[in-house]
Symmetry: D2
Subunit: 295 residues, 4 copies
């Protein structure tokens, strides 16, 4: 392995752990964050100045405005031959724009979808990247440091945007898998004959068709709170689930299970369902109370 | 028109109104109900005794045990050549059983799906009937009295069971149509630019592709309570929606919209969603709190 | 009624019929179309020149580039106090952009969702419009000429964009209503006991909860081709269905029935289903053929 | 471990492999099958005669009539204190009936859902069992022989029926998980930017939220046939998926993702979609061809 230098912008929970994992692999990481308590340098300028060329700067800030302004700033600060990696949760449609803006200055761009959450520091981060092979090659030592051991966990998925697109689809699949276990759990809980649903879930961890890491997490959760009484049935969604459905619509691909999973989350956040009010109103109209006919 | 006699068992809101409409058409109706305040006779025996043969007895009692015991009793009391009509909401799979039981005594059987609700007395009841033509012919004057004016509103749908099956499918379609309007209403309510959703609905009553009687009812409901604030988003379901999905499964027919409508009602009745607790728990596991890995 | 002048751009099947209906009501319509066989004038310039101010120009061309270029041209040709109506199928998100572009020149803008299809000439067109009341007032005589008789069929739905948004939701509802009847029809066709599905549909036209104009059309279609043998199960979708789902996602509104209807159309257009290949492949892997385990 | 005797009825692919795995664990298995090439004995009578009491007989034949007739025969042949295990794919609602029939003779009953497919011989079979603890205890050495190594892979899920119910829900979850990957795969294949979908799937095998045994199988399948060109998008379904949805309906539990997965399989088996013919017909009616209005 050749030790390399990396500039890392954004040192939140995710970025901070990634810095640690990359350093453990023997590389040098110079980190910048708006929060000076987290940062190694005081400014993007200083960060760029501390790196020897050709530089690699990894952007790990919220998608949208924060990523855009960071890319804009780096386009001014970096030099031809340098490479920017967007490892945040950007929408894949932003990548081509960012790549074009940087290419105009001779700067390379790689989009990297990163999976791993709080487990990534210990287990490694799965990486799906898009862009030109020559730009990816410059970042490869860092990708190798971040990825899990074993053959899997890293892919050059295709052109610019393919990394975030693949990560987005990963999250769409994740939604439907979570929904699958959740539906099964609710159904098992609903019948009297099954007296130990948690142990049914635990038993599935070996030898079944549905064993998975998410199933392991479900068992962990049930071990902490057997009937999940401490939780409300309320689920947020991040952008990726929505974007997955939108990409499917753009491509005329039917995604019934993933979309059902997204909609179930939307519904979970409603105190009362407007559409069900309308259903109730219609039932009243034709079934219950005499009203004037509109025809 | 030839005036005929009808025995009518079950004089609730629906049966009582039907008795009235049949009498207005000039027929004789002898009604029996467990509630003596509603009944014309004191017992099924008396009802059967008051009818001249060949008799027609219309059963309008709750599906399941009440219908079964009434059919059982009529099988003992009636004579060959008589006809029993089941106009209740029986599951179509019960019809063949009832028909067989009565046929063993030489008694005919007709299943009749009845639509109309509180509007039926004034507007007529739509009737979908199943059975042999000879049995249906004996009831035809009553069907003619009950049905709305015009060519539509009555059909001999097929064999025994076809009447209830057709009515069941009618209700399945009804679920999805109601859901369609309800989804559209919620979406219109959700955006700022549409400032008068009720008037949008009202405008649709003429000239649009989606004009319908249900739309008229929706406008009625919005005229009574513009934002449906007086209602909770809570919707019951009757057996027919469930049976429609089960019939679809038996016949490997995909019913995505009707089933989505049924499930939306199920979800509307849950104070908290167990499956969404599991989604929340899984999100916690991989995103938030460090826990021991099960693998 | 005060007779008024209208400039109408786009004289295809829809625009041509609308010109006819507006003229029948006594107004003057000067129509322009790229196809000189359809047009009253040779150019947009001529059209604008022939109208007395304040002018009203109705744009009835395909959404997207054609509408944009027409709006751009009219922004140059028209004068302060004139009004442009976009009656095409533009995405509601385009309306604010067009309105802003025109407002910069002092020109008003109204977006109008138009429903009616081939029936509109005879029955009238349902109109959902968005924009400022003062701009709408200038077009009102034309709206009155186009709309069906009766109280319904026209609505000022709200701000700029609200007309197209309401029409879009109308189409979303239409998708799910069509799907509802289609699912019911398939299920009825699937069982042996129902021997005359067409007559069941016909019977529903009176007295039922599900009577509607779409049901009337379904009966028409079955009268022409009882089992729809002449058709393939292949359904296009227009932009509005897709945009409805996207708007729902933007607003976190669950639309399960409408979305299921859209996805059913997507699937109908696939010769073979890629996703079902994967299902088949997975079934093979765990059930049928011995393969090497990846773990 | 105490070596025990087991009677095993049904020696097809599944039963034959199970016999082998139980024997490898040191137990005695006497197998009967209608096919004499597979059987150790010539009749159920001989099988029962060869076992020392208290006997354990495992039934591994197709659900429905074959299982029923085997249970009937064993009810005649066995003695009080013996135990029958139904390890087939019986519907959970059959279990209570079988248990009651056998209990009348003093014979115990255990229902066992078995997962593992062609991998079970090598890896072990996951077992979900229902019934009384005393009956299960008599079979435990065989359960221990069949199950995978490790803590998971076996559960006493609850009362009679709970084993098959849990296995049924397992399969319902399996449907939705398979659908999740399948939807994701189709979407990735649909876009140009992702140039190597197989490698994206492979990369997910480590470090991602969606890693699972099914994902490993998907990678195996793609390694054999990168674009699944050799397969048709055609997927059968077994009873368990259907029963899961029916159980959900009985318990008013919404199962949108699992049901969508089942319906996708139904649709995949249709050469042409009847419901989409109706959609096409309706589109024709209002959009294309002038027809007579029904109203």
């Amino acid at each position: 392995m050749t030790a390399m230098q990396l500039g890392l912008v954004g040192l939140g929970k995710m970025g901070g752990n990634m810095r640690e994992r990359i350093r453990r692999a023997g590389h040098t990481v110079i980190g910048y964050d708006r929060n000076p308590d987290l940062a190694d340098v005081h400014s993007l300028e200083e960060l760029v100045g501390r790196l020897e060329g050709p530089r690699v700067v990894w952007v790990m800030v919220p998608a949208g405005a924060a990523t855009q302004s960071t890319v804009d700033a780096l386009a001014e600060l970096l030099e031809p031959g340098d490479v920017v990696v967007d490892g945040g949760n950007s929408r894949w449609t932003d990548d081509e724009k960012h790549a074009g803006e940087l290419a105009a200055k001779g700067i390379g761009f790689v989009d990297a979808g990163v999976s791993g959450g709080v487990w990534g520091l210990a287990n490694g981060y799965a990486l799906m990247v898009g862009g030109d092979a020559e730009h990816i090659a410059k970042v490869q030592p860092v990708f190798d440091a971040l990825k899990p051991e074993g053959d899997a966990g890293f892919v050059h998925a295709g052109k610019v945007g393919a990394g975030h697109f693949s990560k987005m689809v990963h999250n769409g699949i994740e939604y439907a898998m979570m929904q699958a276990y959740a539906e099964g759990w609710e159904l098992l809980q609903a019948v009297d004959s099954v007296t130990d649903v948690r142990e049914v879930f635990r038993s599935w961890q070996e030898g079944t068709v549905i064993r998975s890491w998410l199933l392991d997490l479900a068992v962990n959760a049930l071990d902490e709170d057997e009937h999940l009484d401490k939780l409300r049935g309320f689920a947020q969604d991040s952008g990726e689930g929505r974007w997955t459905v939108e990409a499917a619509i753009d491509n005329a691909v039917p995604l019934p299970a993933i979309t059902a999973s997204l909609f179930a989350r939307f519904a979970s956040r409603q105190d009362d369902s407007p559409q069900m009010k309308m259903i109730a109103a219609l039932r009243n109209q034709f079934g219950g109370h005499a009203v004037e006919s509109a025809k």
